[in-house]
Each structure stands twice: as structure tokens, then as C-alpha cells.
Amino acid sequence: MLLEVRDIHVHYGKIAALKGVTLEVEEGEIVTLIGANGAGKTTTLKSISGLRPLTSGRIVFDGTDISKLQGHKRVLAGIGQAPEGRGIFPGMTVQENLLMGAYARKGTFREELDEVYELFPRLSERRTQFGGTMSGGEQQMLAIGRALMTNPKVLLLDEPSMGLAPMLVAQIFEIVREINQRGTTVLLVEQNAMQALQLAHRAYVLESGRVVKAADASGLLDDPEVRAAYLGGDLGVD
């Protein structure tokens, strides 16, 4: 098991955001978390990458308990994340942004850079442009590319489709599949449940801070409850 999240509770002040979330990610999988706004998807990801403290519960990664590990150390351990809203450094160039991904490691990163530029040729064209001046789709590519530069064992993606045109969404999802096929495990948070379920191997459904369903993605696609709740009026365009 690469990543295990065991019964975690997380609070914002006195408000409970997660009330006992348990999930597992096997090496090589694409796992997706779906759920409505405020269900706790983003909080789950933030807890895994150390941006939110746990009130209780445990997170085990690659066999070690990382519940108390500081966020920046989890990056070295192999957790890479493209955060919600992309988190591009607006005052840095594309190349600098990518190099930030390798911040925690020493050495030159020619090969990793080349690989990212190969995955995202668009970034290669714009390597001297400032992050803040790019379009949404480009920023999303940069965020994913930057997360890849951390050399992650598991890549956490938070709503990569947000605010993007359907064609771009398809493109991004294709790249995610590609990344996974090259050997990186992916934990994907999406509101765009339909496409996420088509891409993922397994899925968890979150509702108000709890996991209410866990199954194979294909199984959930056919689940009438899930269809009604998440797939009905939610066909891609935001």
C-alpha cells in the first residue's frame, strides 16, 4: 500500500471539515475523490500533503507514519501536489516555477525539465513567460508539471479541470493518464465526476466530511445514487 489515510478528523477552528476519512491508494493506481463542494475533498488532499493539521487519525505513506511530518518534508518523501487554484508563482517564469518543483532536491534537473517540456510542449514555448500572465489552461499544465518536478511517488491533483474549457479538460486528463502510465500514482480530486470516473481505477465519494462510498470507478459510474447526485447536471462545463 503506497498511501493509507486512516480515520482522519480535521477542523477549521471549531468547524469539523473531515469527520473520519479513510482511504487507500495502491501503487500505480489512479484514485479519484468525488463529492459536492465543501464535502472535504480539498481538505483531504491538504491533510495528506501537510497543509492542514490533523485533529486525530493517521496518514501512512510508503510504510511510515507521516501524520506529524512537516509539509515541506513530505515533498521529499514523495508526495507531490498540484493545488486547488493551481498556486502558480505569478512573479516567476515558467522555468523558474518548474525549478521550484525541484527546490527540495539538490542537483541539476535537465532531464526532469526535458520530460515535463515533452509532456507539455506548450510550456516549453513559454518558458520565459511569467506564471501570472498565462492562461488558465497553461497555468494548470504548469501546476502539474511543477508537481512532477518534485519527483513524486504519488501525485495529488486538486480539481485540474476547474475553470477550463471542455477541450482543455480532455487534454489535461489525457496527460494525467499518460503520467500514470509512466509509473506515477495519482490521487485526483474532481467535481467533474463523469470524466474523473472514466479516468480513474477506483473512487471514493465524500459527503460532508465522510467517505460514503468506495468502489471501482466503473462501478460507481453505473451506481444510480451517484449518477443522480454527481453525474446528472454535471457534465463537464463549469
Binding site: G50, Q70, V75, G91, E96, M100, Y103, A104, T150
Partner: protein
């Protein structure tokens, strides 16, 4: 205004000199603000400490007459290093004691500001009540360090127009620009600098890149403090006197300079410092020196009305270019 031309040259030189000092102090405000969004009110005392450290060095070395040549260079280097260490150390301590606990508990910036004001008062009184009497042996009530040793010969080197240029003028402006360039290189050209900029631009994303925020914050305070330490030395060389409150006045001016240039923006701090120094100096010719602070603040308000984020725009974020 008949004597305007007579005063313009010297006023410009003086304005640049004092502006350099403002600029160096402004760097500390701007860096801490860029990273923490905090007005580090106690930064003014960090500056004062630098000045006192310099006095300490002069007294310890036993300077009694102006020195020149390599001796001067050596002495200044030593003094600057000691002052940078003292100020940087103070800034670190300040971060540790006054700001870290608040940051860890996610306190509001208002609480942090009050903590900063408290720390500022505390340090000011500490200098007055402990450092001056016990380290420098001044009697109680005497708050000025007397008999400041003269380190640099102050006879004019040459004149530009009717403005005599002294060695201390040259040292101050050159030192400020050198420090500025070094810092700029550090922030924009090194890994440490990238960490600082990343944290300033998006702290959460920075963590996701493996940046240790605590370390970045410490570095920021250290660097800003060190710059203020240099400013303290230059101030001492220029004015040759020091009391426990000098930081307050210089600090407010420097913060104004930082905002004027665009807070969070390193080059803005330099520009803001020079603009403020010159505005003060020039306006004194027309209005009298007693109005210089009023003009400085009026200029600030005017600039902000038309450029709400300062002359060069805000923050380490877009400051790259």
C-alpha cells in the same frame, strides 16, 4: 528663493545620503512584509541596535582620530559585519519571540501588529535602560551617547557644482547601492531567494514544493535585519550621534519609503528611499525643514492616490523584472 540655487546642490547630496539610509532600512520592512504581510514595527529598533553595535566596535578598537586608507576599509568591514550580526540576531530573536507564536496560532495581523508595537517599545526601553547605562556606561537620564568618536575625515573631497562631497557621502551611497545589488542578486538569483519569493507569492504552494517556511521566515528576518545593521553603521558615520529613539523617526520614514516604492518590492524600497530623501531635502529649501515630514507624507498620499500600490507596484511577486 534667491538662495535656492545655492542650496540645491548640497540639498541633493544630503537627500541622497539620508535616502540611502532610508532605503536600506526600508528593505527590511519590505522583505518581512512581502513574506509575512506584517508591518514589523520593531524593525526600527533593529536599526538602532546596528548603530549601537557600531559604536561598540569603534570604542573597542579605540578609534580616536579619523582613519584612512586600508585601515578605514578594514575598520568599516569589521564594523559592518558586527552590526549586521547584531541587527540580524535581534531580528531573528524578534521573529522567534514576538511573531512566531502568533504565526503558529494563526493569529490576526492586528494581533501581530500589536505584538510588534510592544516589541518595539520593549527594545527601545531596553536600549535606554540597559544598553546605554550598562554597556556604554552613560549615567541614568543621559540618553545620548556623548563624545562619539570621529572615524572618517569630513573635509570635502571635491565639489560638484556648489555641492561639496565628503567621503562619508560617497561611502553611504556606494554602500547602500552595493548592499542593494547583493540582496537583489540573492533574492532573484539563488535557491534561498527562490524560496523567499515562492513563500511571498503563495505560501501553500511553496510548502508543496518542499520549501521550509519557518526557515524562509527566519532568513527573511535575518537579511532584513542585516540590512538595517548596515544602515545603522552608515547613520552613525554620517551623523555621529545616536540615541535610543533614532530608530523611531528613521523607521517611520523608511516604512514610508517602502510603501512609496511599492511594499514588498526590493527595488521599490531603494527608489522610495531616494525619492523620500530628496523630497524632504528639496522641500526644506522652500518650506523650511520643520515641514519636511509633512511633505513626505503628503507625497506618499498623493502617490498612493494615483498608484495605489506604490511607484513600482507591489511585492516580491512581480518584482522580478
Amino acid at each position: 528663493m534667491d538662495n535656492f540655487l545655492g542650496q540645491f546642490g548640497p540639498a541633493t547630496v544630503g537627500g541622497l545620503a539620508i535616502g540611502s539610509i532610508y532605503a536600506l532600512v526600508a528593505l527590511g520592512y519590505t522583505m518581512v512584509y512581502g513574506v509575512l504581510r506584517l508591518i514589523n514595527f520593531a524593525h526600527s529598533e533593529v536599526f538602532t541596535i546596528g548603530g549601537f553595535a557600531a559604536v561598540g566596535v569603534f570604542l573597542m578598537v579605540g578609534v580616536s582620530a579619523p582613519v584612512g586608507g586600508f585601515a578605514l576599509i578594514g575598520l568599516l568591514l569589521l564594523t559592518v559585519l558586527v552590526a549586521m550580526a547584531a541587527s540580524g540576531g535581534t531580528a531573528l530573536l524578534l521573529e522567534q519571540v514576538a511573531y512566531r507564536p502568533l504565526r503558529k496560532h494563526g493569529s490576526s495581523r492586528l494581533a501581530a501588529l500589536i505584538s510588534a508595537i510592544g516589541a518595539s517599545l520593549f527594545l527601545q526601553e531596553l536600549i535606554k535602560l540597559v544598553i546605554i547605562p550598562h554597556v556604554f556606561g552613560q549615567s541614568n537620564g543621559a540618553i545620548q551617547l556623548q563624545n562619539m568618536p570621529r572615524v572618517i575625515d569630513k573635509t570635502p573631497l571635491f565639489s560638484i557644482g556648489n555641492a561639496p562631497i565628503r567621503l562619508d557621502h560617497v561611502i553611504i551611497v556606494v554602500a547602500a547601492v552595493i548592499m542593494m545589488v547583493l540582496l537583489d542578486r540573492l533574492v532573484n538569483g539563488t535557491r534561498v531567494g527562490r524560496g523567499i519569493r515562492a513563500t511571498a507569492q503563495d505560501p501553500e504552494a511553496a510548502v508543496l514544493m518542499g520549501v521550509n517556511i519557518d526557515k524562509v521566515v527566519r532568513t527573511t528576518f535575518l537579511l532584513g535585519g542585516a540590512m538595517a545593521g548596515v544602515a545603522g553603521v552608515l547613520y552613525l558615520l554620517y551623523f555621529e550621534n545616536l540615541d535610543y529613539r533614532v530608530g523611531f523617526v528613521v523607521g517611520i520614514k523608511a516604512f514610508t519609503a517602502a510603501v512609496l516604492g511599492g511594499i514588498g518590492n526590493l527595488r521599490g524600497a531603494l527608489l522610495g528611499g531616494f525619492v523620500l530623501g530628496l523630497v524632504e531635502s528639496w522641500s526644506s529649501i522652500f518650506l523650511g525643514a520643520e515641514w519636511s515630514e509633512v511633505t513626505a507624507f503628503v507625497v506618499l498620499v498623493l502617490v498612493l492616490m494615483f498608484r495605489p500600490t506604490g511607484i513600482l507596484g507591489e511585492s516580491l511577486q512581480r518584482a522580478r523584472a
